[in-house]
Symmetry: C2
């Protein structure tokens, strides 16, 4: 009888943050690919583009002028998905419709230059980004229950502007994903008396096989339940509820590990690696007064590429209608990333 090998034999893995299962069928990577290829990311972006609404000193579509910023720069989204003062909906189909009174949607530039990305920025510049993230969560989280920081990077991820930036959307309710994660972490905590992700991080740090990069304070792993091929989970080793709770040292450690992780991503196919990423931490606003010990701060990185700079993973048919399915094991992905150099390919060229 053949013995089980995760690389060759399909199996299901449980995602304890979402209470769902992912189908791992790594033997699928053996099949040839004759489908759609993507345009590889644009590699030659001018440092300053007079037509780019995110560059310092430029005028945006609504006539507002950016300051001549030389670090991070935050402004209100000119085309927000979230309007601050939408009126109440007439109940279209009660009780299936809810209004959203209070909303906020901001854009945050990481750097005055368009031709850099986080792994190509200096340590102290990345620390400034982290400080600004924490500042925004502090400020908006004073009233909003959920402040979602997210970065869509690369045209493949629907990002329409190459200037390094992220978005911050604050809402007066817990969106689906954090609500689900909250439920899962809470019920684990009630059962085990320890935050799930802290226990998980300890296990992964011991086992090593899914670790991509680590430092005294931080750990980045391809989680056991990863759905995207090179998905990673970045989390502190210490129990930290929110990004605002990070010490100065931990912020420096985070800047360092982010640069290392993102350098590996870029080195994988020697392109500026597309992804969506975002932070999840304990809810804020009215939840600041509650006990949220079940929460552990973490960032999710969801990169779409599978085989090369030009062939992505399609989350389609079976994935949409039945269950997510991955074509290589998390251990294979972690090993590949782990073995990549920590020097950025662009710095090597120079």
């Amino acid at each position: 009888e053949v013995s089980f090998d995760a690389k060759d034999h399909q199996h299901l893995r449980y995602n304890p943050l979402r209470d769902t299962w992912v189908l791992v069928s790594a033997h699928r990577m053996k099949r040839p690919w004759a489908g759609q290829v993507e345009k590889p990311p644009e590699e030659h972006i001018p440092r300053y583009d007079p037509g780019n609404p995110l560059c310092p000193g430029n005028t945006r579509a609504n006539g507002k002028v950016n300051s001549h910023y030389d670090s991070t720069y935050v402004f209100e989204n000119d085309f927000p998905a979230l309007q601050p003062d939408a009126p109440d909906p007439a109940s279209l189909m009660p009780p299936l419709c809810l209004s959203l009174h209070v909303f906020l949607s901001k854009v945050m530039c990481f750097h005055p230059w368009s031709d850099v990305t986080l792994p190509l920025m200096k340590m102290h510049e990345v620390v400034k980004v982290i400080d600004k993230w924490a500042g925004l969560v502090e400020e908006l989280g004073a009233t909003y229950p959920w402040v979602q920081i997210f970065e869509n990077k690369g045209a493949m991820m629907g990002c329409s502007n190459p200037h390094p930036h992220c978005q911050v959307w604050a809402s007066n309710f817990l969106p689906n994903e954090p609500a689900l994660s909250d439920r899962c972490q809470r019920s684990y905590y009630q059962k085990h008396g320890e935050p799930m992700l802290q226990q998980y991080a300890r296990q992964e740090a011991e086992r090593k096989e899914r670790v991509v990069v680590e430092s005294p304070d931080w750990l980045a792993v391809v989680p056991y339940w990863a759905t995207w091929p090179y998905q990673t989970l970045l989390l502190p080793r210490r129990h930290v509820l929110r990004i605002t709770d990070l010490t100065t040292e931990e912020r420096e450690g985070l800047a360092d590990i982010m640069r290392r992780l993102l350098t590996k991503y870029d080195n994988l196919f020697e392109i500026s690696f597309p992804y969506s990423m975002g932070w999840h931490g304990a809810p804020t606003g009215p939840h600041l007064k509650e006990d949220n010990s079940h929460w552990q701060l973490h960032a999710h990185y969801y990169p779409p590429l599978l085989r090369s700079a030009m062939v992505k993973k399609f989350m389609v048919g079976y994935e949409m209608l039945a269950q997510e399915q991955r074509d290589l094991t998390p251990e294979q992905a972690a090993e590949k990333l782990r073995n990549l150099p920590e020097e950025h390919y662009k710095n090597r060229e120079n």
Copy 2:
């Protein structure tokens, strides 16, 4: 004070099949798009391609030869995600890993020609596809709890072969999506004593504003909770648990409404419209003996395009990390589709 207008004012809608919320921010369509454009679908596909492994009489990658079929044609997937006899996984991280003993993955060609799609096929040819779907659910559903029929159409949806075909994956467990849908429909039924989707279909048939096409037996709507821009839900008016339960007349009615719906899709941007679609009906195998009155058979169509043949909706950052978000209202989408001609643009050209 401004009064609520769904087209202008963000709001949340509840998806009762998934117990989640979708953010509707239709004012977003006003913003300009400067991001990624897709390659429009290939329009000139040869009827027979000697190199295409799905064409009649051709040899596939594993050396097997297709019959000279002249209707539908079903064979085992040569690169299955699901292996029939994978050994048990050593518990990698108990209890977070499950084995999957029994699996089956088939490919089903709709037609011997590569240059047709369902809306361009004749009525009786589409009826044969439906009969074959029912036949496969009958056959595989005798033992497997879940038989997922799905079609990935178009390169944009990860489909690597233009020949009209779908896939059928059968599993020895209920995947995430049907399990969730089962829970939601069951709890509604327990509360209201009527299948949720039957009640819903009746409401939509009265209100009309989200109806795309209808017939005495069938209804296609942009559901109130649609997340993809032109997503539709296709369902019978009568209470039907599974595709196997459809009468001869209902199968003809289904062929007719599918052709009408898919013609509208193709006419929207005058291209062969990409989508993923699939059927959800009451579970099978051991569930055949249970009471599944809460279920109503339905098909989901998930097309990715938003603005044109070349600009799709990106389900990225906020959608992945927080909540799905749509950029036009379901009513706007339904109206657009409803007003399109029912004659296919390719037939008009000739």
